[in-house]
């Protein structure tokens, strides 16, 4: 437990010292969504129909921004090596880091989603499945992305590779997440896609930290 607190507090402290870093993803999210508003003719009713897809893709792209830094800075200053040789399980450390990543760059996006959705003219009945879906879907991205970030940690050209590897893996999250919002829009029960999202989240929480730890060990061999 003390290891959890120490690791988590360290992530938060680092984030507090580099404010611009965790302010960028929400700002990026707002700008991307606004650009869609500029892209169509003013007050186009079509925008509300595309709002689920815009919000979901925007949120995932925004969370992707900070993924590369997840292990890169720790690798550069040697913290990662310390974690590898310490007696704390690496899988656990990876879990904590991904969780902190979600708290710093996933949660703000979840909170921003409802105001942005009303900007796009999404009916308020669809707000709940949108926010709930993002709350389930953004941690999936933090954990799947954390695994890929671990795979590419020592690579000189890792920055461009990361989104290319992450995006195909999060296709199911987008399908069920945006699907839940659309289901609510058609007056259907959004429960089924949300349960699917929850299942994907449980799977990523249990399996991927373990694989990410293996990837980190591989990077240091």
């Amino acid at each position: 437990m003390s290891a959890f607190v120490a690791l988590f507090a360290r992530e938060l402290k680092l984030a507090a010292r580099a404010k611009t870093e965790w302010l960028m993803p929400p700002l990026f999210f707002v700008i991307v969504v606004t650009l869609f508003g500029f892209g169509v003719r003013p007050n186009d009713p079509q925008l509300a129909a595309f709002a689920p897809a815009i919000l979901w893709v925007g949120a995932l792209l925004a969370a992707l921004l900070s993924l590369e830094r997840l292990y890169r800075s720790d690798q550069e200053d040697g913290t990662l090596e310390q974690l590898l040789v310490s007696d704390t399980s690496l899988t656990f450390a990876v879990f904590v880091k991904s969780l902190a990543h979600w708290l710093l760059s996933g949660l703000p996006l979840v909170l921003l989603a409802a105001p942005l959705a009303s900007m796009l003219g999404l009916p308020s009945a669809q707000f709940a499945p949108l926010v709930l879906g993002l709350a389930l879907g953004t941690p999936c991205l933090s954990f799947i992305g954390g695994f890929v970030a671990a795979l590419t940690v020592g690579l000189p050209r890792g920055g461009a590779l990361l989104p290319v590897l992450v995006l195909p893996l999060i296709v199911p999250v987008v399908i069920f997440g945006a699907g839940a919002v659309r289901a609510a829009g058609q007056g259907l029960d959004a429960g089924a896609p949300l349960y699917f999202l929850a299942a994907i989240l449980m799977f990523t929480l249990t399996v991927l930290p373990w694989l990410a730890a293996a990837a980190l060990r591989n990077a240091f061999e």
Binding site: V164, P172, E221
Partner: protein, 253 residues
């Protein structure tokens, strides 16, 4: 049971010689079967009562799609072997499979699109089977890209192995997508339980095509594995001896 043959096969020089002997046979037999498939499918088989002659693209599309999935499973299995037993040969096979699999996935997608235009009226529909196959292509390309980004070949292969294992989640999705979702793509015709839904005079060229494509792929993977082995072991004695042997043969001719 005596497993020494297996251990011997896992050593790079003996696998190289084994592949050297096997690959021409697999490739030759595969080509023969493919020619039989093309002749049987394009000339002998009757036209479909509904799709007329357009159905004949099945003889390229179905084998390519089947191979694309099988190769991914093989790649993930190689990934597991790479990570668990650190077997050099499995690393080379894994790296060899990725581009071959990507090509066949692309072929399956392209032939599917060409088939879709006359039948469905669109080259592309956002359908479960099609999108899952497209994701499969991205996964293959991801493995190729990840492998290219590393300087150390062994670390690259292990990272690719991890990625291949995670991506293997997609394989059952591709295969069962036509059963799980309402799909424009037709359901399983051949690879299913019970009697296949295809008439015998259309089926035999398809079986020839499937077997031929599998053999052809096996030959391609063996050849690529050989190249990878040569590249990695270029400093070792057996490769240098192989080089001098080839030089000698070139001097004689």
């Amino acid at each position: 049971m005596n497993w020494t043959w297996f251990h011997r096969l896992a050593s790079p020089p003996s696998f190289f010689r084994f592949a050297q002997r096997l690959a021409p046979w697999l490739g030759g037999l595969g080509l023969l079967l493919l020619v039989a498939c093309w002749f049987g499918g394009l000339v002998l088989a009757p036209a479909d009562y509904q799709q007329k002659d357009a159905f004949r693209i099945i003889y390229v599309h179905v084998p390519a799609a089947a191979v694309s999935l099988t190769l991914y499973v093989a790649m993930a299995v190689c990934g597991a072997i790479t990570l668990i037993w650190r077997m050099k040969l499995a690393e080379c096979v894994l790296i060899a499979i990725a581009p071959v699999g990507a090509s066949f996935t692309a072929l399956a997608l392209i032939t599917g699109m060409l088939w879709g235009k006359p039948m469905w009226g669109a080259y592309w529909v956002w359908d479960a089977r099609l999108t899952a196959e497209l994701v499969l292509l991205f996964l293959y390309l991801g493995v190729v890209g990840l492998n290219g980004a590393f300087d150390d070949a062994r670390a690259a292969a292990r990272a690719c192995g991890l990625l291949a294992i995670v991506g293997a989640v997609n394989v059952p999705i591709v295969h069962f997508s036509v059963d799980w979702w309402n799909s424009l793509h037709q359901g399983a015709t051949i690879l299913k339980f019970g009697k296949p839904n295809i008439s015998a005079d259309m089926a035999w060229p398809l079986y020839c095509g499937l077997l031929g494509t599998y053999l052809w792929c096996a030959a391609a993977v063996l050849r690529r594995t050989q190249n990878e082995l040569l590249l990695r072991e270029r400093g070792t004695r057996w490769v240098r001896e192989l080089g001098t042997e080839l030089d000698g043969a070139a001097d004689v001719s």
